[in-house]
Amino acid sequence: MKKWFISTLLLMIAVTARADLVVEVTQGVDAPTPIAVVPFQASGLALSDDIAQIVSDDLGRSGFFKSMSRANMLGTPSTQEQVFFRDWRVSGNDYMVIGRIAPGVNGQVQATVELYDVLKERQIWSETVTGNSNNLRDVAHYISDQVFEKLTGLKGAFSTRIVYVTAKMLAPNNFTFKLQMADSDGARPRTILQSKEPILSPAWSQDGSKLAYVSFESSRPAIYVQELATGQRQKVQTFRGLNGSPAWSPDGSRLALVLSKDGNPEVYVLTLATGQLDRITHHYGIDTEPTWSPDGQSILFTSDRAGLPQIYSLNLPTRELKRLTYEGKYNSRGRLTQDGRFLTMVHQDSSGFHIAVQDLKTNRLDILTSSSLDESPTIAPNGSIILYATKKGGKGVLSGVSLDGRVRFTMPNGDGDVREPAWSPYLQ
């Protein structure tokens, strides 16, 4: 009787108890998130740029999103009332961006943008952006940044800039080298410096206001620091031998560089305010290509002190040296993501030189590119994209690859061979 009672009680408890079913999803599709950026309505306006297209391209290039082709769109709604979410859901989109551009005062334009979650049929973000009709690309990149950030949580890097060097052979032994700066998508390039002598290793200051680079214009390699806003530049003290590979410390007060004034290339730290030079490597092997860790405590550099080029890390306060790469015969030109976790590099394997990324947490190395002459990787400030120089059709071009290797793209062809890209930090 007692047992029956207990059984009944338990049964009742079991009947009334509601347990949440717990399931675990570990697998998924490693693909970009589908998004539709519907052409913005701009009635009565003759605009030089298609903002929606720029946004669509930006998002698509990021590796995070796959933009829907306009040709496949069933409609071009520009207001919420015109949106039939079901259509956009059926066509496989998770999100959609609609917008309308209206003329503002003083020749400006006002772009009203709305971001929707198609699945939830809910507006995520809406903003009216005012911009000059001449810099609609800035408006577009801003919108891209906002959409990116709203959907991924990461700050968008579309409004950043890239610098790179182009070399155009005018005649045998007659080259024109240009240091150029462009939008992150390679658009709107403009020349910062032009020279008949090679220009190497452009580097952004952390605030994005200055560039340091190596120029051979004075027949000897010299390091210059140039103000972007004014174009004013300053030659950093020059030493005998090699002067190269400048790298800004995160606080912008120091410059790491490579000098061979003491015999073989060594890494030095130059305090810009005082001109104090501090040699941090002491080895008969070549130590070059320094870069700062995001916290400014360490300097990573390439050294062949072990016989073959590998990447090392030197802790500045303790002077502790640590070899970071072991895989392969050649690893050089290390660059760290802003979180300090991933190290990108040029890695050589049997098929050539590729862009690779090493997870410093697990020391796993992944080769991200399949082209064979890749060099000079630089990382977008949000760590999503690695830009690098490679050869395509015998010509140097800029290409990009997402950090996970899923998305690769090639930048618009510049004038001549393009090399030595450097991605700016977030710009103010």
């Binding site: 108890a17 509601r18 399931v23 675990e24 999803v25 990461l154 997870d359």
Partner: protein, 359 residues
């Protein structure tokens, strides 16, 4: 003057009353003696018919034996009388015979004497001496014979008396013997009866004991049987209960297993449906984890999706949410028992924990 006038009527009235009383008195006594009013008192005693029957037969037997004995005695008395009579007759006859013999002997003697006389006359001279002698001898012989006869008679008498006495004694003895025999027989019979009675009593006692024993045995057996029956019934009941319980448990277990299977199947289905639609974002890293609470309608349509535990990465969380929304409807939910669905499957915690990513 006035009182005087009342005396006669009073006397008359009294007389009338006395008469009436006298008339009624016998009736009263009769009434009183009415035997019908007396309750009948019946004094009864329990009689064992069997023993009564035995007693009756025993009494009968005794009576019969007595009658038989009396008869026998009568016959024997008769016979004794007859024998006595016969003996007396014989005696008389013998006496007569003896008398006759005496007479005849006397006659013979007389004759002889006459003859002898004749002879004696004849021979009187010749044989006077001899005759005298012979006479003498004869007288002597006769005397002797007489004496002999006398003695013989006396002897006979004595013998007869003795015989009679003996016979009487014999009769007496016989009587006594018979009486003894009868007594003995009666005693034996009594003894026998007593023995029989005792035997019967013993038998009865034994029978009673046997009966009692049998009854006790029967009762014990009945109790045993009853106990066994009770035990059997209890065992059967227990068995039935156990079986019922086992069946119930089995059914419950089966139901639980079925439910578990259903839940497991549905879990797999949910995982499969979500996995197919989960776009793991570029920011996804191995070890990240977000938990979405999915609430379903019984039709399988999504009521709500809520990130209850964020991965810390907005894109990751969104991708998880979207993966669920993209399923739109978990159609198999409608095939599941509503109670089970409501209990176990309405609310699903989906943990998104990517594995096998590059980083």
């Amino acid at each position: 003057m006035r009182i005087r006038s009342y005396i006669l009527p009073v006397i008359l009235a009294l007389l009338v009353h006395v008469c009436v009383v006298l008339l009624l008195v016998p009736h009263w006594f009769q009434e009183k003696d009415d035997p019908r009013k007396t309750p009948r008192h019946i004094q009864a005693s329990m009689i064992d018919l069997k023993s009564l029957a035995t007693d009756v037969s025993a009494q009968q037997q005794i009576a019969e034996a007595k009658a038989e004995a009396a008869k026998k005695q009568a016959v024997e008395a008769k016979q004794a009388a007859e024998t006595e009579k016969q003996q007396l007759a014989e005696q008389a006859r013998l006496q007569q015979e003896a008398e006759q013999k005496q007479v005849s002997e006397k006659q013979a003697q007389h004759k002889k004497a006459e003859e002898q006389k004749k002879q004696e006359i004849q021979k009187k001279l010749e044989e006077q001496q001899v005759k005298d002698t012979l006479q003498k001898q004869k007288i002597e012989a006769e005397r002797k014979e007489k004496e002999l006869e006398k003695a013989k008679a006396k002897e006979l008498e004595t013998a007869r008396i003795k015989k009679e006495k003996a016979e009487a004694e014999a009769v007496q003895a016989e009587k006594k013997r018979k009486a003894d025999d009868a007594k003995k027989a009666a005693a034996e019979k009594q003894k026998k009866e007593a023995a029989q009675k005792a035997a019967e009593a013993e038998k009865l006692k034994v029978a009673e004991a046997t009966k009692k024993k049998a009854e006790a045995d029967k009762q014990r057996k009945a109790e045993e049987a009853k106990r066994k029956e009770t035990e059997r019934v209890a065992a059967e009941k227990a068995k039935a209960e156990a079986k019922q319980k086992a069946d119930l448990e089995k059914r419950r277990q089966a139901a639980v297993e079925k439910n578990q299977q259903t839940v497991a199947d549905f879990s797999s289905y949910v995982v499969s449906e979500i996995s197919r639609r989960w776009i793991r974002p570029a920011t996804a890293r191995n070890g990240m984890q977000a938990t979405a609470l999915v609430v379903l309608f019984p039709s399988g349509e999504i009521d709500s999706v809520e990130i209850v535990q964020s991965s810390g990465d907005l894109g990751f969380d969104r991708s998880a949410e979207n993966a669920v929304y993209k399923v739109g409807r978990f159609s198999r939910a409608s095939e599941i028992d509503p109670a089970l669905f409501d209990r176990n499957l309405r609310r699903i915690k989906v943990i998104f924990r990517p594995e096998g990513l590059r980083y």
